[in-house]
């Protein structure tokens, strides 16, 4: 059986969904680009969905103020953050062959040409580069990013999205100096965006436009938007729980009960009421409910509180929540 014949929820990598945090990131990125900024600093706790939020930007273009070629990189932690290492890392991630002996200025030229070729091929005005794990950057890496920006500045424009995991390092901004040199600070550290998990309540600024919470909208993706087989109109929820679906059950229909159980679980662990739900555990929750509970029980009609509680423990909901200190042995 090939991958495409398997239901997307059963594949080795499950599908991407549109989320409100991703859309808020799109809005912030658009505003930064329109303002003429060089970068947007994205901060957020681990596993809230920053990487896929960035990927959502790469794969959509409705938010872009100008035509852009976007690509994403991740960065490792070298012993010595040289320009050669930085450029080689980018080229390698773009699938390019690189000679060990190449000088760093030649590699810089290759990075610029390779990116520019993709931009020109798409007739795009500018470039957007998403750097995942930017918390691993030192000020030297920012210098290298600036070298690329300077090269592009001659003919076009590059905009960086630096994705930082705020709980990854000791110094807040990864391991970067508390106060980087002014020329770097002015370019890359001015604007920031706080990336959150799926919010349980609609933020005040979004209320004029957004009627449902982020979590409800995310459930709606599985209930109404994601379908399989292609063109069949059968949603993921319908596929996994046909009997319950016929009875009018939806994932989003039990959102109040789910929130209640989430808060109970949190309060038992000494955590405050939930404000957001990290994408990692949310997506695992949906998978477990649809595949492991609804799909395996042909008489499934709706979730019980006990099932929700069990699933939350099974997907490690508490383990990645900030402030959780574990269970006393």
């Amino acid at each position: 059986m090939t991958t495409s014949e398997v239901h997307p929820l059963l594949r080795y990598k499950r599908p991407l969904i549109f989320t409100r945090p991703g859309e808020r990131l799109a809005g912030a990125t658009r505003a930064s680009i329109e303002m003429g900024c060089d970068a947007l600093w994205i901060e957020g706790h681990g596993r809230v969905g920053k990487t896929f939020g960035g990927r959502q930007l790469v794969q959509t273009d409705a938010w872009r103020p100008f035509s852009m070629y976007m690509t994403e990189f991740t960065y490792s932690k070298p012993q010595k953050p040289t320009e050669g290492y930085f450029m080689t890392s980018l080229l390698t991630q773009m699938g390019q062959s690189v000679a060990a002996s190449a000088s760093s200025n030649m590699l810089l030229a290759r990075v610029v040409r390779t990116l520019n070729e993709q931009r020109v091929k798409r007739s795009a005005d500018m470039l957007g580069l998403v750097f995942n794990e930017a918390n691993r950057f030192t000020s030297e890496e920012y210098e290298h990013a600036m070298s690329i920006g300077n090269e592009f500045e001659k003919t076009t424009r590059v905009f960086y999205l630096f994705i930082n995991q705020s709980d990854a390092g000791q110094l807040g901004r990864g391991d970067t100096d508390a106060r980087p040199p002014r020329h770097i600070f002015g370019r890359y550290f001015i604007n920031s965006h706080r990336y959150t998990g799926l919010l349980w309540d609609v933020p005040k600024d979004d209320r004029p436009h957004q009627a449902m919470s982020d979590v409800a909208l995310a459930f709606l993706e599985y209930d109404e938007e994601l379908t399989w087989p292609e063109g069949s109109g059968i949603t993921f929820t319908q596929h996994c729980a046909p009997k319950a679906w016929a009875n009018g059950w939806r994932l989003g229909a039990q959102i109040d009960m789910i929130r209640k159980v989430v808060n109970e679980v949190r309060s038992e662990a000494g955590l405050p009421l939930a404000t957001s739900w990290p994408m990692l555990t949310f997506e695992k929750f949906v998978y477990t409910v649809l595949v492991r509970i609804a799909m395996e029980d042909e008489n499934f009609l709706e979730l019980t509180e006990a099932q929700v509680r069990e699933v939350l423990y099974r997907v490690g909901y508490l383990e990645i929540e900030p402030g959780y200190e574990g269970v006393v042995a």
Binding site: K13, C37, R55, V58, A62, E72, A100, E230
Partner: protein, 506 residues
Amino acid sequence: MNIVIPGPYIELRGTRPRDELTPFADVLTSPFAGSDQSETPAASGFGTLAKIVRLNHLEPKELSSLLGIRVRRADDLSAVMTFSEARQIAVARSLRLPEVPMEWNVSTWFPFKAPSSLLATGWTFRYCPECLLEGYHTLLHQMPWIHRCAWHDVALRDDCQHCGLPVAVKADWLAGANLECACSQSPLDTDLIMRAAAPEGAKLFTDNYLHWAAEERSRSTLVIPDLAGDPRPALAALVEVPGPWHRRIRVVTDSRADASFDPPPPLSMVHVRTLRRSERAPLPDRDGLVELEQVRRDRPGFLTTPKRLAPMMSAVAANLALCLPAKSLTDREMSLFLAGIGIEAPESFDPADRRFSGEVSMLPPNYIGSRQFLNLLCVHPCVYRLVAGLVDAVLEGRNLFDFHAQASHQEFDLLMRGCGQVLARGYADGLRSTLAVHVPELYTQPRLSPRLRQPWVLVRKDSGRLSSVRVAWVPLSCGVRGEAAVLEAADQANQRRHYSGRRRRK
């Protein structure tokens, strides 16, 4: 610090179907900028390499480390990438191509069966200035029968369009400046080649051309002469492109790009003759081909001329004798030259004031009984060996017995006429060249002046039957030695070959 810019409310849901979203990152699959072959159809190996080198800012030393090809700085990279299969494989591997693209193989572009190495002699990088500016080069532009770019309508060039120096195709350049001429002008424009697209119309034309060439290749075979020189003049004359393309790729007319440049060199020195199958062919003399087998010897000496060809050789000798200036031949020599056509010397004939020459007397065909014998010492070996090649091309591995059984008499007649045409013209050239030693006045007469020419033949079959034989005669360079000396040197080489062959047999 940490200014949070309020963003506009953006809704991405509904802007893109969910099944178009992927959880995977978009990663480039080509290992170099500009190496995506799908966007430059039918590009040459060198064109691809030149574009990659320019776009990726590669240095010559990186050809080895990145592309796996070892070359010397003095090597012509365009020739290397056209004729070296090993280098083509190495580059294709480096570009992660499943195999070497067929368009990199020069013989794919031939409308006849011939090895790729055919064009190696006299190779010069040839290009359309407008195509190359965008980083596109195709082996179509290397074909000697193509003179213009079919989609840009400009004349093809083999030199720098600014200063006329040869194009800098050696594996020696400064990073980011490959192909740049000594006059500091580059035929490549880095900004344009980033678009990585074939010029408009190129794909359609090259597809049609390759289709036509493949069809022609299944029907036509090129017979290459021994010690072949530069094949381009012969090929330019031999290959006939389909009528509708003729104006687009061959005709030299004034146009925007070549108005100020000289047209390609004329092909007037190349003579072409096409023989076609005749419905009124005489019944074949089956022994003719057996007799022609003699030309395969290392030093054939005298050829027993097949009966079908004897009148042609006699006519060559007689026509030349009748055109010679006064006092060129003695009475006896004249009668030998005219013996074949059975006439006497004209009354106006003025015999030479010298003694009878044994050497001259051996030049015309000799007769013993009813058989004619042709002295091949005065025929350049590239001519009579081509006769053997022509027979082989037609027989295609069959033996003579099978050929006689399978071929129609029209085919047999066409083959014999083709052999006769090659042999007769080669004999005429040889006669004039040898006689010129004794009759120096020949050099002053344009039609009779000695010259040696090399024949190239294109054999065409339709539905498996020989349908035409097209022969092109290309001047053979004799340098300062003179034609007779060239013939003598060729005979000495034959002698050496003959003796070494005899020693091997012992």
